[in-house]
């Protein structure tokens, strides 16, 4: 086969994928950027207005509130979720793999298969102030009923509980795979040198788990920032707008209020935010372990 035929064939195999890369990603990204500079209504007017949408969005109470809620949710849910997952993964890693551990691991993974929509309904019922399980369980410990999702200050933490529950199994699997790939001889050597368990965790486990930690943290942050189903179903953004998220605002601005230009600006900010945050995570958490 000559070189040019070879190349031609390769591109023939690639053509469908490249077509969809263009249609599903490149064109929409460009289109979104375009819309963000327009006063855009789905039914009628489409008028170029420069950076007016950007100015409008940045100065609006609505954007600041949604961005604040989303960040608050992320800062609450991600660290708790990652630390809990790491503890559980370390626990599994300390056990010998048997039929029983496989079964227990399945328990942790089960919530992952539920859609976030279903998760929202599961917890909406659990957090029900009168008939829910949450207050029932608190009652056993002598704690009075809590308002949960119906209270301005408790709503975001309640959403974070739902999210951590739904995502934990996924993180545990990835971290556990990373832990099991660590060569046991490192620990033996450290033990001979007299290192304690904390020291071993800090100087062997964490550095060698780096790749999986970065992956888990990035995926979690991305998922948390695009929070939508949980508040959409469980709180409708309330009470008093305390759970309105960025993606919820995108939906409402475009599909309810017909203000597509402003919604497109929200998308741009969402992107910029994702890029900056995931870039930072890589910088902060990726350690050089070649030494």
């Amino acid at each position: 086969m000559n070189a040019s035929l070879h190349t031609k064939r390769a591109y023939m195999f690639l053509a469908p994928a490249l077509f969809f890369v263009v249609v599903l990603f490149i064109i929409p990204l460009g289109y979104n950027l375009l819309i963000s500079f327009f006063d855009w209504s789905a039914v009628g007017r489409k008028q170029f207005n420069g950076i007016e949408n950007y100015a409008k969005v940045l100065g609006s109470e609505r954007f600041l509130n949604a961005a604040g809620n989303t960040v608050y949710f992320t800062v609450l849910a991600v660290p708790i979720g990652v630390v809990l997952s790491l503890i559980v993964a370390l626990g599994f890693n300390a056990l010998f793999i048997t039929k029983i551990t496989g079964f227990i691991r399945a328990l942790y993974f089960a919530p992952v298969v539920a859609s976030l929509t279903a998760v929202a309904f599961v917890w909406l019922w659990i957090f029900n102030p009168s008939y829910g399980l949450a207050n029932e369980v608190l009652g056993i410990f002598g704690i009075g009923p809590q308002p949960w999702l119906t209270d301005e200050s408790q709503a975001v933490p309640a959403l974070a509980i739902m999210y951590v529950w739904a995502r934990m199994g996924f993180n545990v699997i990835i971290l556990l795979a990373g832990l099991q790939a660590i060569d046991r001889s490192y620990y033996e050597a450290a033990r001979i040198d007299g290192a304690g368990p904390f020291k071993m965790f800090w100087s062997i486990t964490l550095p060698l788990l780096n790749r999986q930690m970065v992956l888990v943290i990035s995926v979690e942050v991305m998922n948390a920032i695009k929070l939508f189903e949980l508040p959409f179903v469980a709180t409708k953004g309330g009470p008093v707008g305390s759970t309105r998220s960025i993606v919820m605002e995108i939906y409402e601005l475009a599909f309810r209020a017909d203000r597509w230009g402003e919604a497109a600006v929200y998308v741009i900010f969402l992107f910029a935010f994702l890029l900056v945050v995931t870039g930072l995570i890589r910088k902060l958490f990726t350690r050089d372990i070649s030494e």
Binding site: F20, V21, Y31, F232
Partner: protein
């Protein structure tokens, strides 16, 4: 000790699902009894489920979800196989830059593209069609990545031998390579099934006719109109989860391996 702690933790995580399952078997008056009853009077009271399938359209929603998910799996699998074959067995200009571009798209969440994508799909008159509903799922970056990884583990000599025998490239892909990457295909199908089955925002936007609702959209719509009928809402939540739960129970090993695999390299 660790084992006991892990078992207790795992059971605690299962309580929310068990609570919904138990609640879905209660009668309307039973579910609103105080103090809260943990267990239903009758464990075989499936009236709520019967009602959702007979008086409401949940059978149809499930069918729609299967159809949309099936379309997404089929097209994205075929496209990924073709692309992965080119990446694994061909040398061509811009190969690695193109692959990196494809990989970078991992970072683009679907939610962030709903605005232009909705305008494109409705502009093409695909609202309320199955193709329109499956549109963002027709192609998945993960598939290309997983299959390429797996194909590169197969010795190149298999491809060369088939070429010497005069097999066409397409035949080599379908008859030689595809059977050999079957484990990766299974993993991909499971992950893709889970993702597509569970999406909500996009089908909600595109399916405007109730006849087209997927099960997630149907669930939210139903709960909105039958506000406070918690026995039915719990049963509907269960219905929406049953297919992925069955998938999970039967193919757990592959699912776990798939998640671990996509996180390893």
């Amino acid at each position: 000790m660790i084992q006991t702690a892990l078992i207790l933790g795992g059971l605690a995580l299962l309580v929310p699902l068990a609570w919904v399952a138990l609640s879905s078997l209660k009668r309307p008056d039973e579910i609103l009894q105080l103090p809260v009853k943990w267990l239903p009077d009758n464990f075989f009271n499936f009236n709520n489920y019967v009602q959702l399938f007979s008086q409401y359209d949940f059978g149809r929603y499930i069918g729609n979800s299967f159809l949309v998910t099936g379309i997404g799996i089929l097209t994205s699998l075929v496209i990924a196989l073709l692309a992965a074959y080119a990446f694994a067995y061909y040398q061509f200009p811009f190969k690695e830059p193109i692959f990196l571009l494809v990989l970078a798209l991992f970072m683009v969440p679907q939610e962030a593209l709903v605005i232009p994508m909705f305008l494109m799909v409705s502009g093409a008159g695909l609202n309320n069609t199955y193709i329109g509903m499956a549109f963002p799922d027709l192609f998945t970056v993960l598939g290309v990545y997983l299959l390429r990884q797996f194909m590169e583990g197969i010795p190149y000599s298999y491809v060369e031998a088939a070429r010497v025998d005069g097999a066409s490239e397409f035949r080599i892909l379908t008859r030689v390579i595809t059977p050999m990457v079957a484990p990766a295909i299974v993993v991909f199908i499971i992950i893709k099934f889970m993702f597509t089955w569970n999406t909500f925002l996009w089908p909600m936007l595109v399916a405007q006719d109730e006849k087209m609702y997927t099960v997630t959209v149907g669930l939210v719509n139903f709960a909105g109109s039958e506000f406070n009928q918690w026995n039915l809402i719990n049963a509907a939540t269960m219905i929406s989860m049953i297919p992925t739960i069955i998938l999970f129970i039967t193919l757990q090993r592959y699912l776990v391996r798939g998640v671990a695999m996509s996180g390893m390299k």
